[in-house]
Point group: C2
Chain length 294, copies 2
């Protein structure tokens, strides 16, 4: 794959290691971030204004905090117009399918292409190139982005079809599965403690048998250790994602009492000042509800 | 390990393959089952009355449907008395911790010992010697039972301490984790379909990455295929176990909206005639709730 001209928007916990890998991969990367200082020190030029980062016919990668940040940046169509024919925007953010649909329209109107490729992985996974991507969009866009995404994350690229918003729905469903896992583990470990069972014994048995997989081991470990203070993914962002899942459930008319319960637990955790914990910190709320200390 | 005199009570879907393995292992096994015909054809003598199956100082294995069946059989202490000093009862059933506590008292009063070793695995796993056991009870009882259990299931024996009821609580917590997994997968696959996502693509991605483990693959496969008609574990028994989990949550003062939601979903599924499906068949209820066909 020849080096590509890439504009990279969003240098947060996830975006920064990804931009580093693109720069190390020999691409011609131009950075932009709302807080400019976060783009410094990566050895790539930083644009003063977003559109200035973009090369006609080039690539845009965006990895932003939420739907509002995405629409603030791309909603007026200026970046899509600058990309022009042949240009491809690869949206890596976790946003509502509706937002992806709007981006696809904006880019189509400007003659450029939008695809979604939300990233699955925490910052440490991205740094270690262990993440994977859920990709959906026009075939030409996916063909162009795939080798770059495959070089970024050895977890690979999973294809969810031609409609960009399908990848965003798949990402929300994945985050629902993770949140449901965290919540089940928080219940289980707390119930074990209240039953007089050693949580370590439960962890060893469950993750050594039926639940011998990354999500269960990672979050189970944090919950057994009550170690939520160094967030890889903040609980406040977990609430944001659970709200997006609820929005998807509403939009698709898919009633789920667990989606509703997760919303209430994450909202209560934020209300009780836990928004800055890792999202596995929901276990602290479960302990409090059950009359245990933090 | 020398061959042991073993009375085996309960020759249902789980008990029958286990008794077969004990007989094949050279133990002196005597069978008893409420419906006598289910004990036929295994090549071991069948007792007319329960206590007649028991040898003084020997072993009793029981694998019965529910708490009532266990207390009906062992509640009057006759079998515990027949076992006598040195005798050990290994309770394999999924029952409430309170039932295990009562059995421990009954056996202690009779001079014999009770331990719990609920089995984790479906009938086909038991037949293939893939199950594992959650063991708790007096050390001497566990020392005597362990080599027999290890020979039965290569998944091994996980130790939950000296109090027999801890193994029963651990079993219920495990079944909660499985039910929460089934429920999350049912939600996810249904939401995928309603979002226009191919459920196979979601299955491949999720179980190929964060959820690459037995419970998620097994139940995910059944739910994606909508294949619940040959039950390994009936939905009606799933409701029984979810009620036991709710009882544990109440007894330990452990509030959980998901435990409550699982109860309501399993109860609704039984009400709608799905009690004879596999317990992954909760996905059919989720589909109906979401306006989809079976």
């Amino acid at each position: 794959m020849p080096p590509q001209p890439i504009a990279f928007f969003g240098l947060g916990l996830m975006g920064r290691p990804m931009a580093e890998h693109l720069i190390a991969g020999g691409h011609t990367v131009t950075l932009w971030n709302r807080t400019r200082s976060k783009a410094d020190g990566l050895g790539a030029p930083v644009a003063d204004r977003p559109a200035e980062a973009v090369r006609e016919g080039g690539l845009v990668f965006s990895l932003l905090a939420d739907d509002r940040a995405v629409l603030d940046l791309f909603g007026d169509g200026a970046i899509a117009a600058r990309l022009g024919p042949g240009g491809v925007h690869v949206g890596l953010s976790t946003v509502a399918p509706e937002t992806a649909r709007r981006l696809a329209e904006i880019h189509a109107a400007a003659g450029s292409r939008y695809m979604s490729a939300p990233v699955m992985g925490r910052p440490e996974a991205v740094a270690a190139r262990k993440e994977h991507f859920l990709a959906a969009g026009p075939a030409e866009a996916k063909d162009r982005a795939r080798p770059i995404l495959e070089a970024l994350g050895e977890g690979g690229v999973y294809d969810f079809g031609e409609a960009p918003e399908s990848a965003n729905a798949a990402k929300l469903i994945n985050n629902y599965l993770i949140a449901a896992t965290i919540n089940a583990l928080a219940d289980a470990v707390t119930m074990a403690e209240k039953s007089g069972i050693d949580p370590e014994a439960l962890y060893a048995q469950a993750t050594g048998t039926l639940f011998d997989c990354l999500a269960w081991k990672t979050y189970g470990r944090q919950i057994v250790d009550r170690s939520y203070d160094t967030p890889s993914f903040k609980l406040s962002l977990g609430l944001k994602d659970v709200k997006l899942v609820g929005g998807l459930a509403d939009a698709t008319e898919m009633p789920s009492p667990v989606v509703s319960a997760l919303h209430d637990r994450y909202l209560a955790a934020v209300a009780q000042g836990m928004g800055g914990l890792d999202w596995s910190g929901i276990a602290r709320l479960v302990r409090r509800n059950a009359g245990l200390g933090d």
